[in-house]
């Protein structure tokens, strides 16, 4: 496909003396694929010859497309910039028509840039604060809408699309069991192993069971479950609703008289509120099982002793708060994910951004809520 160097350079011939009138004879196929070669070779020849007048002869052009015409126009513009008298010779009609097709103004048009402008720091802080404020208002409005929709669902359960609720219970719950059990087991193993290294020194092996039980049930069980649900299901909720927004399916719902929050968000929020507490209990079980494995294999504890010590340390209040927290976490994850999905404007990129935002916002809210619960439960009962 590539011609030998000596033949390729023959496609451009020059006649005339340096500093005088130079005739540039172009031949061959001037297309996008050969544009780089012609442009570079012509530039090099003209730099050598520094003509006073340049005549471009097009008699032997075999083929020229719009990119080739662009090359000729650019050559003309550069010659004029350098005050070289410029003309074309023997220009075939086809070439002239193609050159007429190109709008020279378009080549120098100032683009209407919509790129982010770089302003002053204060301006950027102001813009970021405004965006945060609008986001907060959006979240609060959505919280109002979802509470209203849930309240109406309680008053009239027939409003809820229960088939959808069951579908999301399965997808967010049952399908997430394998990964949740594995991670919870490993978490229990790690806590037990790390704490045993310290407690062994004081002969307090038995307290590994207490430590693992309290840590898993009070904090890590609900938190781990919530984070996994945020990653698996929160992102899926946001992507699903976001794609529906992009495809105008949400607009279609509105025109058909459906309330998007009621139709799309409520089943997901209800499903999450049903399934996350169950997943949390499941996670607690596997976390304690992980600790038990370390206890009986590495700490010479019996199964009976370990379970008895765990039962002694953990109260019913701990279970109650764990489940309560998990219900709140579930509502936060599903709610914020649906809100991020409904916020999507634009195309595929916005769906990706909404998905990321759903996960990050969910995890942020989970940790903020957990901190608040830690303080509240400290004062209620400890």
């Amino acid at each position: 496909m590539t011609a030998p160097a000596e033949r390729k350079s023959d496609l451009i011939r020059t006649r005339g003396e340096r500093g005088e009138t130079v005739k540039l004879l172009l031949s061959g196929r001037i297309a996008l694929s050969s544009l780089g070669f012609y442009r570079e070779e012509i530039r090099r020849r003209l730099e050598d010859l520094k003509p006073k007048e340049l005549i471009v002869d097009l008699t032997n052009i075999e083929y020229l497309d719009s990119s080739g015409a662009l090359l000729l126009l650019e050559l003309e513009r550069r010659a004029k910039d350098q005050a070289i008298v410029f003309s074309f010779d023997n220009m075939p009609d086809e070439v002239r028509h193609i050159m007429d097709l190109i709008n020279p103004e378009a080549l120098v048009a100032t683009a209407a840039k919509t790129e982010r402008k770089h302003g002053y720091v204060l301006e950027e802080i102001g813009e970021a604060s405004e965006a945060l404020y609008k986001d907060l208002i959006g979240v609060l409005t959505f919280v109002g809408e979802i509470l209203d929709a849930l309240f109406q669902a309680v008053r009239n359960p027939r409003l809820v699309r229960w088939e959808d609720v069951l579908f999301y219970v399965k997808r967010a719950g049952v399908d997430g069991l394998p990964i949740l059990s594995l991670l919870s087991l490993l978490m229990g193993l790690i806590i037990a192993f790390m704490s045993s290294l310290q407690l062994k020194q004081f002969g307090a092996n038995i307290y590994v069971a207490s430590l693992v039980g309290i840590a898993i049930i009070r904090e890590l069980g609900p938190m781990m479950t919530a984070i996994i649900v945020a990653g698996r299901s929160g992102s899926a909720f946001a992507a699903e609703i976001g794609t529906m927004k992009v495809n105008e399916e949400v607009d279609a719902l509105v025109t058909m008289g459906f309330e998007p929050t009621q139709f799309l968000a409520v089943p997901k929020v209800l499903a999450a509120m049903i399934v996350v507490p169950i997943l949390t209990l499941y996670s607690d079980f596997f976390g304690i099982a992980g600790g038990l494995l370390v206890g009986i294999t590495g700490l010479d504890l019996t199964i009976h002793t370990y379970i008895q010590q765990t039962a002694k340390s953990v109260t019913l209040f701990d279970f109650g708060t764990s489940l309560f927290k998990s219900v709140v976490f579930a509502a936060l994850i599903a709610g914020i994910s649906c809100q991020r999905g409904l916020q999507v404007r634009g195309g595929a990129e916005a769906v990706g951004a909404a998905t990321t935002s759903a996960v990050v916002s969910s995890i942020f809210l989970i940790i903020v809520a957990d901190s608040a619960f830690a303080i509240i439960f400290y004062y209620v009962q400890w």
Binding site: L32, L107, A111, A112, R345, G346, G347
Partner: protein, 263 residues
């Protein structure tokens, strides 16, 4: 040069397209000559887009073959496929512009992939292409900021980025107002006339068909093949096939008319 003297640029031989148990096209034979504007017409669901997607290599024929510039896309080597990709441009029904890229990036993408031009030259080519479709100065706009007609024109600029010798259009005027659609038709004719680009267009917009088609091929979903072929005006005025007459005269299907009469 007379059409008969030219070697076909696209040859469809005995093409059968099947999805599961559904046969959409059966035994299609068709040729496209270089520099012509061929319009594929037919009612919805007759397989127009399926035929187009076989021509551009998105679908592999169940039977038969499609040769584009002598290359069978289904059995082509990577190098042949890459060479052929430079020779064809496709304007999808939705435009299919990449939403995360500006117009300049959308159009510059195939140029930077297939050539080794320096960035300033790519910028210049992009500006020229946008100028060709009357979108000069819009290179930094995102697709979401454009109207439907502008999106179609920007997508055409991207399809033409590599100066392909064949352009494929899937419903180019769908969703456009008559004035914008007529403008796009004019642009298609101009590009064909001046650059000699072969055009294969799928549409059922009658105005566009009469305006731009040099030759028409009509598909039918019951026959699963071609039922008429020729000059659009001749077909409209001289064809005795009731399906062709119904299409050009925008008549509803016979069965439905019968239902109304009896109802």
């Amino acid at each position: 040069m007379a059409a008969a003297d030219r070697e076909p640029i696209i040859i469809v031989e005995n093409l059968t397209a099947r999805f599961g148990d559904d046969t959409i096209l059966e035994g299609i034979n068709l040729t496209v000559l270089p520099g012509e504007i061929l319009v594929i017409i037919g009612e919805s669901g007759c397989g127009k887009t399926v035929l187009l997607k076989h021509m551009i290599g998105l679908f592999t024929p169940c039977e038969g073959r499609v040769l584009v510039k002598g290359i069978n896309l289904a059995g082509a080597s990577d190098a042949e496929r890459r060479r052929l990709r430079m020779e064809i441009g496709v304007l999808f029904q939705s435009g299919a512009l990449f939403g995360s890229m500006t117009l300049a990036e959308n159009i510059g993408l195939p140029i930077s992939e297939y050539t080794s031009l320096p960035p300033e030259m790519i910028d210049l080519v992009v500006k020229m292409k946008l100028g060709l479709v009357n979108l000069a100065g819009h290179e930094h706009h995102m697709p979401a900021e454009l109207s439907g007609g502008m999106k179609k024109r920007a997508a055409l600029a991207r399809a033409m980025a590599l100066d392909p010798s064949i352009l494929f259009f899937d419903e180019p005027s769908s969703g456009l107002d008559p004035v914008t659609a007529a403008g796009l038709d004019l642009l298609i004719k101009e590009i064909n006339r001046i650059l000699g680009t072969t055009m294969v267009i799928v549409t059922h917009e009658l105005a566009s068909i009469m305006n731009i088609a040099q030759r028409v091929v009509m598909l039918d979903k019951h026959v699963r093949g071609i039922i008429a072929e020729g000059d659009p005006r001749e077909l409209k005025e001289c064809s005795r096939d009731p399906r062709v007459i119904a299409f050009f005269n925008r008549q509803p299907p016979q069965t439905r008319t019968g239902d109304i009469h009896h109802g």
